[in-house]
Symmetry: C2
Subunit: 342 residues, 2 copies
DNA sequence: TTGAAAGCGCTAACAA
DNA sequence: TTGTTAGCGCTTTCAA
């Protein structure tokens, strides 16, 4: 027999409404009354029915998180940050993974989030203008992580600056012929990281008086294997690079492996720097631009909670007014060194 | 203005009850009526309120997943399998991460899952008897992944057999002095993998007429660094091993790194085999016993759905009757070879 | 096959 | 500060 709010009221000798108020910590309850109610609730081991209070109040105390993947390092890290903060604050996390076009179009077509969540977190997803519009239409606060959306609040790193510093570090080591492995296809709208990182790379070169060479910018698909293929491509060049900036650590791993296969020694023959500080970067000795991923999740969750609790409505009338830019840090390990004297 | 079930009823010219029946696909609705209702719902872009239907029906169409970590490879992989199957079947996934003792004792103390989920999935968590009991008390189907619980349904791999085959493979290569890196402390109750893997390792040795040597069984804490420290310990031995079975790939990574540091060549001086087929094992060339992780998540989700939909109640009156044993597979890469002639 | 109506267990006016 | 009461938007008897 499940115990309901009325049972608690009866035991505490007060009305249902008072129990409701006392349990939710509303201010207008006498201290003694509140204590009695809490005791009664505890004695009966009472848990309120979320469905009932959601229906009555219209609030779900649930935040939806939309993510392209669940099984990849970055997303798991962000989500663990998100989950911790939400849970501490009494919110549930409702996950929507959209790994393929089908689940994605179903999601944006039906918007199953409607009526289920008080706010939405969008994790590093390239979104079309229509998709963004349909999210706005939910009319709840939205925070974007790793994606810049016009009029939207987001938690980001400074990709351009990070790439620029990574590249500048290679230049300072003495390299002049520096390649980049990244994402070079035409970018999906609002997916800014690869573009920004490429721009940072180019800018660092230009600032050092080096003319960017398009044949040194190759596609790595943000995977280990893609990074390997990209490296192979670079090694075919008549005048191959002495250093490589990879837009992600996983591409850097692939590049290192490919360099070894080709009989090159890293870093003596070839320097490679990555981006992210992926969990195995330290064990593989990969130099990288580190970003704090769980922190980004925590900040995003906080942003959403602030919007919810303070009633702060901003952009498009429905989000927090501003976001965060999380700093990155250069981590030097064993994959980078001055070029060999030639 | 949110559109409700009554709006749909009015437009379709039927009663609320009929709309409810039609939309949920109940059998006792005339085909023509159902079509009209669906059209009306579509025209109005109607979405039913989950809180309302949960309150009225008592079913939440939500499955709770309890996991020690969100940010680690294994759990992300399992969860992505779980999420996909649940989503396809109209269920929500509610996540509870319990990374530390505090969140854990809060969770088992208050059992926030009560009244919020129709079933529970427990991912590879060592549980005390009390904890298991409090889960049973929820009185919903429960499926355990990677953990064997008496009277509980679970999705598992055959850890003993996997470890035995991995070890036997090393023996077949000609090794006789084979170490194990794993978990050797007194085991938390119900956390069977490390114990089973150790048993498999020992059994393979005994079957080959090799007497297990306790000094060759060292603690690796299931982390990269722990694996490295364990390897260092093994290399101190007066008569160090020529091969190592690591209970996880991550420990194998650390072991390989440590071997390199010590100037040893893998596999010529030392063979190392891991367990899991972690995402980077192939890039690092680590031989391993592969397990299919997302599959385990999918199977567990199916088990839960079957219990829910067919009303199958089994163990302790509340779970699916049986589970699955997912096969493992030996994957040979470059970290294993016959021992050097000495 | 359909409709009328009584809840599901809370919250939030409003009144006291 | 507390109590009374009318919903919240569905589902589910029960009757037609």
């Amino acid at each position: 027999v499940p115990v309901g709010i009325d049972d608690v009221a009866a035991l505490a000798g007060v009305s249902t409404a008072t129990v409701s108020r006392a349990l939710r910590g509303l201010p207008n309850v006498a201290t003694a009354t509140r204590a009695r109610v809490l005791d009664a609730a505890h004695a009966l081991d009472y848990v309120s029915s979320p469905s009932a209070s959601r229906l009555a109040s219209g609030r779900t105390f649930t935040v939806g998180a939309v993510t392209p993947f669940l099984g990849r390092w970055f997303f798991g890290q962000v989500l663990s940050g998100v989950e911790g903060v939400l849970r501490e604050n009494g919110y549930d996390l409702l996950l929507y993974a959209l790994p393929d076009d089908e689940s994605r179009s179903r999601f944006f077509g039906a918007l199953p989030l409607r009526r289920r969540v008080d706010a939405v977190l969008v994790l590093t997803m390239p979104l079309s203008q229509d998709e963004v519009e349909s999210l706005w239409a939910l009319d709840v606060p939205i925070v974007f992580v790793g994606t810049h959306v016009p009029d939207g609040a987001s938690v980001l790193i400074d990709d351009l600056e990070g790439a620029r510093r990574a590249t500048r570090y290679l230049i300072e080591l003495g390299h002049r012929r520096i390649a980049m492995i990244g994402e070079n296809r035409d970018e999906p709208i609002h997916f800014t990281a690869p573009t920004a990182r490429r721009e940072g790379y180019r800018r660092a070169l230009v600032e050092a008086g080096i003319r960017p060479d398009r044949s040194l910018e190759v596609e790595g698909y943000f995977t280990v294997d893609g990074g390997g293929r990209a490296m192979a491509e670079l090694l075919q060049l008549p005048d191959p690079p002495t250093a490589v900036f990879a837009q992600s650590d996983e591409m850097a791993y692939g590049a290192v492996r490919e360099a070894h296969r080709a009989g090159l020694h890293v870093p003596d023959d070839l320097s490679i720097i990555g981006f992210d500080d992926h969990e195995l970067a330290s064990m593989l000795g990969i130099s990288t631009m580190a970003q704090q991923v769980p922190l980004q999740g925590r900040l995003a969750a906080r942003l959403v909670l602030d919007a919810l609790e303070e009633g702060v409505m901003g952009n498009r009338g429905q989000g927090p007014r501003q976001g965060h830019v999380v700093p990155t840090e250069l981590v030097v390990r064993e994959s980078t060194a001055p070029p060999r004297r030639s």
